[in-house]
Amino acid sequence: MIITSRFFNRSELMGFIALAAVLFVILPLTLDVFRLNLVAKYLTYAFVALGLVLCWGYGGILSLGQGVFFGLGGYCMAMFLKLEASSVENTKIQSTPGIPDFMDWNQITSLPLFWQPFHSLAFTILAIILVPGLFALIIGTAMFKRRVGGTYFAIITQAVAAILTILIVGQQGYTGGINGMTDLRTLKGWDIRPDHAKIVLYFVEVVLLFACIGIAQFIRLTKLGRILVAMREQEDRVRFSGYSVANFKIFAFCMAAVFAAIGGATFALNVGFMSPSFVGIVPSIEMVIYTAVGGRMSIFGAIWGAILVNFAKTSLSESFPQLWLFGLGALFIAVVLAFPNGLSGLWADYVQPRIDRLFASRKAKPGWNDNSVADGAPAE
């Protein structure tokens, strides 16, 4: 129980401080608002990556459908914002003023029933957490109670992602279809579009991210986290020890879903936009790639992965509009071939030992990292 006595071990504490310094101080001071807003967009994927670390890295449950939860959270937020942007005076050009523009184009003449509660911000915030959480609970219960796991589970999550995309695109009168919900303007009367609002939203998002990191770290360090790791390594042994494996898996999956949903909601706020292109199979796989590049065993690694991959995506596509996809593909292949544990594995193998040695030689007392047989690393 030495492990649980400290919330962060030393290297994690350094990771925490480094991330906090970069996100709270360095980036806001060095970037202009446009670039900062892009970082805010990247960070929305960091929420998803964080959830994937819990569910995939620790629990061993590979979900290829995180876009579903990202989308559900994002759409909940977007529905609230869209309703506020569709006030009667904003939409007087329509044949039915007061409803979102895409409903009017689709000959819907009154606000559908399931849209009504999204007039309330409190309901919306609850829905952002509960809708994806419940949905994950249903999928998780249906799958894990029947001991469906591994590849089959991954395929089913992917099917769910495909189904939800088709549903959203098909029901365009209710969802905005392939266009998505655009032109989101205000949050309770506060304009989310100008520069100062973008800065405020950025900080709100970073605070939320750190809250989620805290929760994830807490889960990891409690007995629950240990059981997740045990389950990943030897599922049967955990089951024979009397634990309900299914329940723990469901929990990890639901947590990942809720984190992804929070990411989706902050996405809608920061980008002012939500569309089915974040829900489907491709974005869901991309989210897994961010986590893999960063390192699925490491909370901070996965977050860096989300930031760096998206940054690479933006800068490559700005410099090489026609060839950038090849560059990005090459990057992924290189990372997976050369560093299967991602960037954090690279760090742990090459950079961390040097730092350790530096400290060790100074203190000449290397006892501190006795328990660094990382909680996360698979016990190979």
């Binding site: 202009d32 184009w105 695109v169 266009n179 579009r193 980008v271 509009p321 026609q322 950038w324």
Partner: protein
């Protein structure tokens, strides 16, 4: 650079005064000396756009990658050709056009992000871009917020009008109504079957077409079906067509689905030389994929065909092929994209300024006599006056012009009685 920095320090009132003063010499100078010497940058650019004494920067924002790349590449090529020609002819207000190309990657939020980058970071004077309605809807709030100027090339569903957008393609009524009138008269058509892809443009277009068929032509719509984007199974609807035997099949199926649709239509034994089919979504670009033998005989309703016989087009087509290869084909949207840089140049010269507000105000009435489709003019509602044409697909993938309206058709993005 220092010029820009100073401006930020001035009070709004003083800035306004300066703007007014700056405009005076520009206006008096233009008629006399516009060829001899370019007007001073401070006079033609009061809002800090990327304009120097020798250069002006515009943005090109289309999908160079992803599923839409196949359609949007033509637009990129046309815009680059127009920019090159304008530069060869002396540029805009004495400045060469430089372009920054960004990739929207067939992903609507990426379009929004890149539009913002072009406007905020690069301070481009105008954006030539977008293709699908979804990408335009994503970019629209951005160009309105940062007061940019977007030249949008695609024929689209209408129901939109913005100070910050010039729509160089046709809106729905311009594209559809004259074509329906023609086929009703020519073929005595009374019954119509609508097939479309399931998103905003086909749905709105069909809504307008249905009202026109029912209220004006006194005909009947015997079926209306939608399929998801990318759908490749049309057998059930083809069976329905065989059952209902409509006089006209009216289609707005888009993209790759077209290939499957026309092949299956042919396989089902529907002969397009006997069964009239009117499409508003197939241009020369699409026929490249469909294959001329699968669609020969079908009618398409557009404003431009590569085969148009007029002096402008006879210069345009070889110039395009010289730049982009002998095998390239030029569809309706490609031509509309070519208009963007030219209309912008003409508007800037009319306004005597690169300022977006002045361009938006000067746009109505701007005429382009060198358009490959023939003469066009910008309407008060920022759409183009243009002719509607019906062409018949030939085996070689080209269209034969069958009918064109006598006059330019007025753009009407919010048609009364059709909503």
């Amino acid at each position: 650079m220092s010029d820009e920095a100073n401006k930020g320090l001035l009070s709004p009132l003083r800035r306004k005064l300066l703007m007014g003063m700056a405009a005076v010499p520009a206006m008096t100078m233009l008629p006399r000396a516009s060829f001899a010497q370019a007007p001073a940058t401070s006079a033609v650019n009061t809002t800090g756009l990327a304009v120097t004494d020798t250069e002006v920067t515009v943005g090109i924002l289309h999908s160079a990658t992803g599923t839409m790349a196949i359609s949007e590449t033509g637009s990129i090529e046309a815009e680059k050709l127009a920019i090159e020609q304008i530069n060869a002819a002396g540029g805009v207000l004495g400045r060469k056009i430089k372009f920054i190309q960004e990739d929207g990657a067939s992903d609507w939020p990426t379009f929004a992000e890149k539009a913002k980058k072009l406007l905020v970071n690069d301070k481009v004077a105008a954006i030539m871009g977008c293709w699908t309605s979804a990408s335009r809807k994503a970019v629209l709030p951005v160009v309105e917020q940062y007061n940019g100027m977007l030249y949008y090339p695609t024929f689209y569903e209408g129901l939109e009008q913005s100070k910050n957008v010039i729509y160089t393609g046709q809106e729905a009524t311009q594209q559809i109504l004259a074509g329906l009138n023609w086929i009703a008269k020519e073929k005595g058509a009374k019954s119509f079957f609508f097939i479309g892809s399931d998103y905003i443009w086909p749905r709105t277009s069909n809504k307008i077409a249905r009202k026109h068929v029912e209220n004006v032509l006194k005909g009947k719509v015997v079926g209306e079906e939608y399929y998801p984007l990318g759908n490749t199974q049309f057998n059930s609807v083809i069976n329905k067509i065989k059952l209902t035997k409509p006089d006209v099949i009216f289609t707005d199926v888009v993209g790759g689905s077209n290939v499957a649709f026309y092949k299956q239509l042919k396989a089902a034994g529907i002969d397009l030389s006997k069964q009239a089919l009117l499409t508003i979504s197939v241009t020369e670009d699409e026929i490249d994929g469909i294959g001329g033998e699968n669609i020969a005989g079908a009618y398409a309703c557009m404003k431009y065909f590569q085969s148009l016989d007029n002096p402008n087009n006879k210069a345009f087509v070889p110039a395009f092929k010289k730049m982009w290869g002998e095998k390239t084909v030029i569809g309706d949207v490609t031509q509309a994209a070519y208009l963007g840089p030219w209309l912008w140049k003409l508007t800037v010269e009319k306004a005597g300024s690169f300022d977006v507000d002045k361009i938006a105000a000067a746009s109505p009435g701007v005429e382009f006599k060198g358009a490959p489709e023939g003469y066009v003019r910008i309407h008060e509602n920022h759409h183009l006056w243009s002719k509607t044409r019906v062409g018949r697909a030939k085996l070689d993938g080209q269209f034969e012009l069958i009918y064109e309206t006598a006059d330019l058709v007025e753009p009407d993005p919010f048609p009364k009685g059709y909503q």
